[in-house]
């Protein structure tokens, strides 16, 4: 083992993760502006280009954006896996990725092939830099914790998701390339399960036991969960691919994979909820509420998915809302309220603790960077927006605009909270 590679402290500049975190709510805000512009008719066509614009603003612009920022921060700290030149790389990736997502969304929304072509040109280097850098870091990671293996699987899945996505986008943008619609389920499967879910699982392994002071996840579970998702995804992809070549009687096999994913994800949701219920740290904070909401929504989304599969295909929009906004975004949003105040405190502490005349007592604690009461307000908005969105699908589209307005307020408030945290940081540095 080469100990010299390891300094255990290669935390990047504060701006490296923060630029991603600050952009995320802006993309979500934009997504709902688009939805507002389109009106409730958008709900009746799941595969319209405008729906694709919305989903990509959310999944790339909010979810992937924040997860990329988190990886820049977490990999060096948790895995002893340094990302070479991380502050320059993050700047370039962030710029290319942001432009790429905007172009992609605009290309879909206005059905402009030129914009789609441009987005492909910009997204390829943007994603490639990030993927190469994290893959390099993960290959060299010192830690063999299950969480790191899960991150490897998540990054591998992002490679696949991105490749399939670029193929599909090229199909939309270029006449020379046929639109291979059979890749769509694979793109969605690798993206939602392999990338988003496995990434959240890998963070949960670390974060839930440590920050809520709970028991650890059982070793067997942490060893099996993410690898079984990976293996199942590979087998399912292989089956899907071959079944388009030769006709295999398929329904049953598809359903088998469906149940496998269902059981894996449900066991993760239920077990994590059980851990949190038994936590030693009784004091609840906003992050915990977000986690509990996220895990419950994951459970609901799976149940609705099961029901939709057999009885009512129309409900798949509800599954999407519960999975993306209820599960993934709740958890990411909750994590932001831990990561951002901590980073602000940590960097201020490093810069000021030994130099400032006011000393360490002048450094705001995490709760003073983003107050728990403030963040709870945003939590309630998030919850209200979720409920209204569910009502839009299940009760009446009358709720459509109300839901969007609450989402817009929600992301404006999240942005303000993050922005204020950055101002606090600047202010403290300025007055030393």
């Amino acid at each position: 083992m080469n100990y010299n590679q390891l300094s255990l402290e290669q935390a990047p500049d504060i701006s490296t993760p923060l630029r991603f975190f600050l952009s995320a709510p802006l993309f979500a805000f934009l997504a709902f502006c688009l939805l507002m512009y389109q009106g409730p008719e958008i709900l009746s066509n799941r595969w319209s280009p405008q729906t694709l614009a919305f989903t990509h603003l959310v999944t790339l612009g909010f979810i992937t954006m924040s997860m990329v920022g988190a990886l820049f921060q977490l990999l060096p700290v948790l895995a002893g896996a340094s990302i070479p030149r991380s502050s320059q790389l993050s700047l370039v990736t962030h710029l290319l990725f942001s432009c790429g997502v905007l172009l992609l969304a605009a290309g879909f929304a206005f059905e402009q092939a030129t914009l789609l072509k441009l987005s492909i040109i910009v997204l390829i280097p943007g994603l490639l830099i990030f993927l190469l850098a994290t893959s390099y870091a993960l290959i060299n990671a010192q830690s063999s914790h299950a969480s790191i293996n899960s991150m490897r699987i998540a990054i591998f899945s992002l490679w696949i998701t991105a490749t399939l996505g670029l193929l599909l986008a090229s199909g939309h943008a270029l006449d020379a390339i046929p639109l291979l619609r059979q890749f769509t389920p694979l793109h969605i499967g690798w993206g939602t399960l392999g990338w988003i879910s496995v990434m959240i699982i890998s963070v949960a392994y670390q974060v839930v036991p440590m920050f809520q002071i709970t028991f650890s996840y059982p070793k067997l579970m942490t060893r099996l969960l993410s690898p079984s998702i990976l293996i199942a995804l590979i087998l399912w992809s292989a089956y899907r691919y071959t079944s388009t070549q030769v006709s295999i009687p398929g329904e049953a096999i598809d359903l088998g994979f469906f149940f496998l994913f269902f059981c894996i994800m449900l066991s993760f949701a239920l077990f994590t909820l059980k851990l949190e219920a038994q936590r030693k740290k009784r004091l609840a904070d906003t992050t915990l509420y977000f986690w509990m909401t996220g895990l419950s929504c994951l459970g609901f989304s799976l149940v609705v998915l099961l029901y939709a599969e057999f009885f009512d295909q129309e409900l798949s929009i509800l599954v999407g809302i519960l999975f993306f906004f209820g599960f993934a975004i709740s958890i990411i949003n909750g994590m932001l309220y831990k990561i951002i105040p901590f980073l602000v405190w940590l960097h201020l502490h490093r810069k000021l603790a030994f130099s400032s005349p006011r000393g360490r007592s002048g450094i705001p604690t995490m709760n003073e960077v983003i107050n728990n009461r403030q963040s709870m307000r945003q939590y309630w908005l998030h919850l209200l927006a979720l409920v209204l969105s569910i009502a839009t699908i299940t009760i009446s589209t009358k709720f459509f605009y109300m839901a969007i307005l609450v989402w817009l307020a929600n992301y404006a408030l999240l942005f303000i909270h993050i922005f204020r945290a950055i101002l606090t940081y600047r202010h403290c540095l300025g007055t030393k």
Binding site: M1, Y3, N4, L6, S7, L8, E9, V77, L78, G80, Q142, S143, S144, H145, Q206, M210, F211, I213, K280, K281, R282, L283, D285, K338, F342, W345, L346, H349, A353, R360, S361, T365, M366, N367, E368
Partner: protein, 151 residues
């Protein structure tokens, strides 16, 4: 088989529980018990640092010949946590709930990311490098309980 990793990880968990008990009592404004718990937590964690700095880290440094590497960083983080702990003890003595909970949240995250690095990277290295002396190194953790009364 018992290893240094296991023993030290268990000690982290013990400190975590003391932390949670203290926080709970502060939240309840049960100041008498809160004070007792907070000081017990403070003593336990300071003793843990002390054992690492005076026994485990030097053994690792000797075995690998590395002075400025991971152990240096860990000592530095201990120093930062000692500052936070001192402020935390001021807050408990002043019975200042907001200040205590603000500091304790910050300390918890700092402490957990520190522990994570030790448990996942440094302790396994120590297990590997100092296998011969492990009995002796492990005995040190609980053999000097008088240190834990320092606070």
């Amino acid at each position: 088989m018992d290893s240094i990793s296991h023993l030290m990880t268990d000690d982290h968990r013990r400190c975590d529980h003391l932390f949670a008990e203290a926080e709970q009592q502060v939240a309840n404004k049960n100041w008498e018990l809160a004070g007792k718990n907070a000081h017990a937590f403070n003593a336990a964690i300071l003793h843990h640092f002390q054992h690492e700095e005076s026994t485990l880290f030097p053994a690792f440094e000797k075995a690998t010949g590395m002075q400025g590497g991971p152990t240096h960083m860990m000592r530095h983080e201990h120093e930062q946590m000692r500052q936070l702990l001192a402020e935390l003890m001021d807050a408990i003595d002043a019975q200042n709930q907001d200040r205590y909970l603000g500091l304790s949240e910050t300390l918890l995250i700092f402490m957990q990311q520190h522990n994570m690095k030790e448990e996942q990277i440094l302790y396994p290295m120590i297990d590997q490098e100092c296998a011969e002396d492990s009995e002796q190194l492990m005995a040190g953790l609980h053999s000097t309980p008088e240190n834990s009364n320092a606070a």
